[in-house]
Amino acid sequence: MADFVQLWVYLSSTPLFGLTATLVVYVIAQAFYGRMGQAAWANPVLWSVVVLALGLTLTGTAYPTYFSGAQFIHFLLGPAVVALAWPLWQRRVVLRARWGRFCLASLAGGAAAALSATALAWLLGLPHDVLLSLAPKSVTAPVAMGVAEKLGGIPALAAVFAVLTGMVGALSGKYLFDLLRIGRDATGWMARGFALGTAAHGIGAARALQVNADAGAWAALALGLQVVFASVLIPLVARLL
């Protein structure tokens, strides 16, 4: 028993642990998601986060210890943002023909997200630094952190808000779109995918990709546009206010 405890203490303190735990839990969560017919509530990010956070809390493992391993996955967010050029390139013909419309929808959705978040946070009397960390919540986590830092918010908190936003979008998007009578034809999938990528960044885009390949591509396009617009416009608007 003592040997086992010693072994656990050793293992849990190496980067190997955080990395392996993340992958194992995610692979299982993904399989579960598939089993459940990709039901929105079975979202693999949501359950991976819940299981890992619970596991770390119960075993008394500190987040930095976990992150020393998980950072290798986290690091890939940077190259993934660069890789977003790929879906944009794939859709370059449509994009060139309709770029004004896509930009307009992206700006409208991004403005709605940032303005409604800050307005609601202000109305509810949330502290200033929390409010500033909520402003970029619809942008993908690494970019949200950078924007929050520029605004004077808390980058780590902004990343958490971005992830929560992504989960809300991925979980509830389908029902909201049905309520709004957004169809499931070509235009409908475009609107659904593009909205998920705009409002719920990478997690929303991942969900769109799983549901419909076309919606996924539009979501990736929206994500790319949103990243460019938000990182330029949110700090600019904040400075003007």
Binding site: L56, A83, W86, A112, A159, V160, L176
Partner: protein, 135 residues
């Protein structure tokens, strides 16, 4: 080998983006500049061929990449338990508002676009106008 070259391109462009972003004090973060650089570089077959498999792999598993940050929720339990309900209201409502605004605006714009606007090319999916089913 292709995958290795692909990830090398991604990292190279991200680094270049980081240098440009910091050096020129651009408002865009490094990876975003890298994305724009890649968009320009993709017309070059050498980049195109190599980046494709890596980009598709990364984007296919994009949601995994958010797990480490997501687990970070546990370190902010103090703020979250103090303001949790209010933060939840803000996040849920503003996400719904943004989803609805984006989807409705894009659908309205694309319906108008069903009439030819000059540039509609072969690979563009037809902007099928949904039959009038709104009540």
């Amino acid at each position: 080998m292709q995958a290795l070259r692909g990830i090398t391109w991604l990292l190279l462009l991200q680094s270049l983006g980081e240098v440009l972003s910091r050096g020129l004090h651009l408002p865009l973060p490094g990876p975003v500049v890298g994305m724009l650089l890649l968009l320009l570089a993709l017309r070059w077959p050498l980049v195109h061929e190599n980046v494709r498999p890596v980009a598709e792999f990364l984007l296919q598993h994009l949601s995994l990449l958010f797990v480490p940050v997501g687990v970070g929720v546990m370190t902010h339990m103090a703020i979250l338990s103090q303001y949790g309900v209010r933060i939840a209201i803000v996040i849920v409502l503003s996400t719904w508002i943004s989803l609805a605004v984006t989807a409705l605006v894009l659908r309205a714009l694309m319906r108008n676009a069903a009439e030819p606007d000059g540039g509609g090319n072969a690979s563009a999916p037809p902007a099928v106008t949904e039959e009038a089913r709104h009540g």
